[in-house]
């Protein structure tokens, strides 16, 4: 539904593992990385295919889905709040932790603010009530504390360790 009526005006994006995906200039514009290509004088929309070696077809289509849904729903404002919320929830439901991080990488590479903000909030919501162990694993952080130091910090902010979810 997001395809623009004039095929000549679409931008061709080539993910690393699939066929070329055509996007409308409106959607492409929101991807800063793509936008910088388009603004280049030598860019010819009809013939140039932009290769995206860091982005899979799955990630690219997820990002495009998100942008399409949200740019269409913006016009209708308040009364679509509920359905937008539902779309966002469904969108995240399909993403396991690793997929979520990979998508965050892709959105970061394409530099698409709306998706980045959404995914950062999604990760924040995910880890908010999680344990230190979970967060270390999620972000791949190595614990460089000694046992004594660890206990010391734990004592200082004991209340912050109450009500933590099981991993």
């Amino acid at each position: 539904m997001a395809k623009t009526p004039e095929p000549k005006r679409t931008i061709s994006l080539k993910p690393c593992d699939g066929d070329v995906i055509e996007v409308s200039p409106m959607i492409a514009k929101q991807m800063q990385t793509i936008q910088s290509f388009i603004e280049d004088d030598s860019f010819i929309a009809t013939t140039t295919i932009i290769p995206l070696p860091n982005v899979t077809a799955f990630q690219l289509s997820k990002i495009i889905d998100y942008l399409n849904y949200h740019s269409n729903s913006k016009a209708v404002a308040d009364n679509v709040k509920e359905s937008t919320k539902k779309f966002d929830e469904e969108f995240l439901k399909e993403l396991e932790h690793d997929k979520l991080k990979e998508l965050l990488h892709a959105a970061n590479y394409l530099n698409v603010k709306e998706v980045l903000d959404f995914l950062c909030q999604a990760v924040a919501d995910l880890i908010q009530d999680k344990s230190v162990k979970f967060v270390r694993k999620f972000f791949g952080v190595v614990n460089d504390y000694s046992v004594e130091e660890e206990e010391d910090i734990r004592r200082t902010h004991a209340w912050a360790f109450e009500g933590v979810e099981e991993d």
Binding site: P53, Y109, C120, A124, V142, W159
Partner: protein, 394 residues
């Protein structure tokens, strides 16, 4: 070709990223972005993740500021709370707690007669010595003053989340109501300041300055601030200034202020309909949605709230709401004691109606209101907005 070059450069830029295990390692700026969205409680726990995270979260001034900015501009106000004074049976001192976010109080009011935990967020309570009083709350710091006569009074500044506290030099004061205090943030010098005004002195203390004495203010307020409410004498901090009510020599109520940056006092008028008679209607100043507001009651039957659209411009006072006691039929008249607590981005105002948990959410655009009952064994003597932060008072 130009095009190929730029693609190559782009790829090269991201080459190193490809060599990482993408699933476990996010770029540092993204990690910071994610952390800046978390509540303080999570962040204090995640100090524990590693030494570098601990450094980032607690010691990095940039991160603390970024987190505060994020929290302050969150459209859902998730990191805002109400600082609620809770009754304690043994009269040993005052206990303050933080409520759930105003939005969640409105969206999911807990069923009546439940434990306070339904209303209060899981945050350590703030226990103050007997007679101590809250002066104000700014950027996650709570300023309070001890209750003593003579020279051994101190103002304290506490971050209730991190537990870090510091105190002012001693000051002398007479009875409580003759010393007015205020607490705010000076964005120019990036410091927090306590302002003290009494009949005999007008002083400023900058937190973390290490000064041993209060600094004398060059130009204080033109008239001494007055105390409108026994529990409430802290100046209202908005637009970089502390504001109190005061009386001109002819008896007209006005706003007196101290600019926290240049530490100079001044005055401006209240709405033109306000005169000496308004003084009988519990006149009060508030800060709602970032605006200075003024409320009073007319003849014990109507509650009126004004908003100053442009700070310091007396012509910009605009009436925001007028509630008659008759409108609030569900509430026993004798208990009627409205206090505006919070304004949401859509302009709706949360008002406390009595001490035992009756609230209304007023919509100024539609002139409609919704009753909200937050009954519990929490006594809402006093409640003021508070935003959680990692800011250190020292």
């Amino acid at each position: 070709m130009n095009m190929d070059n730029s693609i190559a450069m782009l790829l090269q830029d991201h080459d190193h990223a490809l060599s990482f295990d993408l699933s476990s390692c996010l770029p540092k700026d993204l990690v910071i972005e994610i952390l800046s969205l978390l509540p303080v409680k999570s962040l204090l726990r995640f100090c524990h993740v590693s030494d570098s995270w601990n450094f980032l979260i607690i010691s990095s001034d940039d991160f603390v500021k970024k987190h505060l900015r994020r929290s302050a501009t969150d459209p859902n106000h998730r990191h805002h709370h109400l600082l609620v004074e809770v009754k304690r049976n043994d009269f040993s001192g005052d206990v303050y707690c933080l409520s759930n976010s105003p939005q969640s109080l409105v969206d999911n009011p807990p069923p009546p007669s439940r434990s306070p935990s339904m209303i209060l967020c899981d945050h350590p309570s703030i226990e103050l010595p007997r007679g101590a009083r809250i002066v104000g709350s700014c950027n996650g710091l709570i300023c309070w003053v001890s209750n003593g006569n003579g020279s051994d009074n101190y103002v304290y500044c506490l971050n209730p989340s991190t537990g870090v506290e510091c105190m002012s030099p001693a000051f002398r004061r007479g009875p409580l109501n003759s010393t007015m205090l205020g607490f705010g943030y000076d964005s120019v010098s990036d410091s927090y300041k306590i302002v003290l005004i009494s009949k005999t002195m007008a002083g400023v203390y900058t937190l973390g300055s290490g000064a041993e004495n209060w600094r004398k203010m060059e130009q204080s307020v033109p008239f001494l601030p007055m105390q409108c409410n026994q529990r409430d004498y802290g100046g209202r901090f908005v637009s970089g200034a502390l504001n109190w009510l005061a009386l001109r020599p002819d008896g007209t109520p006005v706003v007196v202020y101290v600019d926290i940056g240049d530490e100079i006092g001044g005055e401006f008028s209240l709405p033109s309909v306000i005169d000496k008679n308004s003084l009988y209607g519990s006149p009060s100043l508030w800060v709602l949605g970032g605006y200075l507001c003024f409320s009073y009651e007319i003849g014990n039957s109507e509650f009126v709230l004004w908003q100053m659209k442009e700070y310091g411009v007396a012509e910009s006072w605009t009436m925001l709401l007028k509630l008659s006691h008759g409108d609030l039929r569900t509430v026993a008249l004798s208990e009627y004691f409205p206090r505006p607590l919070f304004m949401f981005d859509n302009g709706e105002v949360l008002l406390r109606i009595n001490k035992s948990g009756a609230f209304v959410l007023y919509n100024p655009r539609e002139k409609s209101f919704k009753n909200i009952n937050l009954q519990s064994n929490v006594i809402w003597y006093q409640a003021s907005p508070h935003i959680e932060s990692l800011v250190s008072p020292c």
